[in-house]
Amino acid sequence: MEDVRKVLDPDEPDYAAAGELGEQALPHLEQLVRGDDAMLASKATYAASLIRGGADTVETAADSEDPVLRVAAAAAARNLPAERAQQVLRRLSDDQDAGIRKVARASGRR
């Protein structure tokens, strides 16, 4: 968790470094996505998308009641394998929140 927080805590995270955390970071990222800190959770969502096997954590965020997490999931989808990205974007493209729909559309174009 210490290594994960070192990457995510900066005001401007270096997501290239996040991608190098490796699969061992995924349980920590999942924990953060399910936690109370929406900023940290959104950063963890995006970081998970850069790690192989992180799609489940992105889906967790996509199901969140917090729109900030759903935006992060919509953004993170662009980093997922095509099939998993489609699963996330299919839901978020119909989100009631216009900002989430916008980010989902942008991710779908990439």
């Binding site: 070192k6 805590d9 900066p10 005001d11 401007e12 995270p13 997501y15 800190d37 929406a38 900023m39 959104s42 950063k43 969502t45 995006y46 729109p67 900030v68 935006v71 992060a72 953004a75 216009a98 900002g99 989430i100 916008k102 980010v103 942008a106």
Partner: protein
């Protein structure tokens, strides 16, 4: 307090002061005091003061509610009230006699560039020169006892030339002008964010002026794409967002509070060269605004959690309030966006 012990310092104001040889006069509204003093120190208030300004017997309603400025000028004294003034022949003590033809229009002084057209704030006798103050400008005049004299070249000039301590007489010193644009208010609150920035910057001698606050309804930019958030590189969405610069001058910093950045972050200070701007996300810390503004003012990250520009996250600042060190202050002062206003 030393002169009038029954009046608190917060109530004491002075509209004008007049040197008069062995005496000095101080004017506050429709009252004045006469003080026996030497060159230095407060002296002693003469018996019978404060007294009514009507004792000066000025004509035509001049100064009945107070004056703006008084000028010692050898055998003459000048008093200023709005756009009028009087010239008085007097000695050290007493009201003297108002010269014929007064009150007269302040335009008789022939000051340039609209200076003092509605009145002045203060006047200072300084031997062969006189100084007149109007707002944040002043002029220096070469003159004798009588007449307007000649305004020296290069005047009006900014009052900041006097180098007074920051905050005195409206001399702000180095100042960052900030315009807040709110798409989504931060969880810590805009006021808190601005206050933290102000506290940190003012601690190192840089004023933060909150010049304007505006709410923006831009749902498509509320989760703004910041790309890699690299200095000098902006996305189309950042460019669109930063085009909203109502009320902001070219060197004013616009701070856009949004719901989130894409990818997620507390904020991002990347901006186009000609549009100083930054973004702060809803979940940012109380220090993020000051941190991002630091980047706009050319500061880089440091590996020190006691400092505002820590690379490890303002959430980890270990000894609040975070420090700004001397070399950083020098960079901030050198920035185009820190100005003497």
């Amino acid at each position: 307090m030393r002169w009038l012990p029954n009046i608190s310092e917060t109530q004491m104001t002075v509209d004008a002061a007049l040197f008069s040889g062995s005496r000095c006069y101080f004017f506050d509204g429709n009252r004045y005091i006469r003080v026996t003093r030497g060159d230095i120190g407060p002296g002693t208030v003469d018996a019978g003061y404060p007294a009514s300004i009507t004792n000066w017997n000025w004509p035509a309603g001049f100064g009945t509610n107070g004056i703006d400025a008084a000028l010692y000028s050898g055998s003459k004294c000048y008093f200023f009230d709005g756009n009028r003034y009087i010239r008085v022949t007097r000695g050290d003590i007493g009201p003297g006699t108002v010269d014929a033809g007064y009150p007269a229009s302040i335009t008789n002084w022939n000051w340039p560039a609209g200076f003092g057209s509605n009145g002045i704030d203060a006047a200072l006798y300084s031997g062969s020169k006189c100084y007149f103050f109007d707002g944040n400008r002043y002029i220096r005049v070469t003159r004798g006892d009588i007449g307007p004299g000649t305004v020296d070249a290069g005047y009006p000039a900014p009052i900041t030339n006097w180098g007074w301590p920051r905050g005195f007489a409206g001399a702000p010193g180095p100042t960052v002008r900030l315009h807040v644009k709110i798409l989504t208010a931060p969880s810590v609150g805009v006021n808190t964010s601005v206050q933290r920035m102000r506290e940190r910057y003012e601690a190192v001698g840089i004023n933060v002026e909150l010049a304007s606050t505006e709410n923006l309804n831009l749902p498509d930019l509320n989760d703004v794409d910041v790309g890699q958030c690299l200095r000098g590189q902006t996305t189309d969405e950042q460019d669109d967002l930063f085009a909203n610069r109502n009320n902001a001058g070219a060197d004013d910093i616009c701070a856009y509070f949004v719901r989130s950045t894409v990818p997620p972050g507390n904020g991002c200070a990347a901006h186009p060269d000609n549009r100083p701007a930054l973004v702060v996300a809803q979940g940012a810390t109380q220090w993020t605004l000051a941190h991002e503004a630091g980047h706009v003012l050319s500061l880089r990250h440091v590996d020190d959690n006691d400092r505002l520009m820590t690379r490890n996250g303002t959430v980890n600042i270990t000894n609040p309030p975070p420090n700004i060190v001397g070399s950083e202050v020098a960079k901030m002062l050198a920035s185009d966006y820190t100005r003497n206003l």
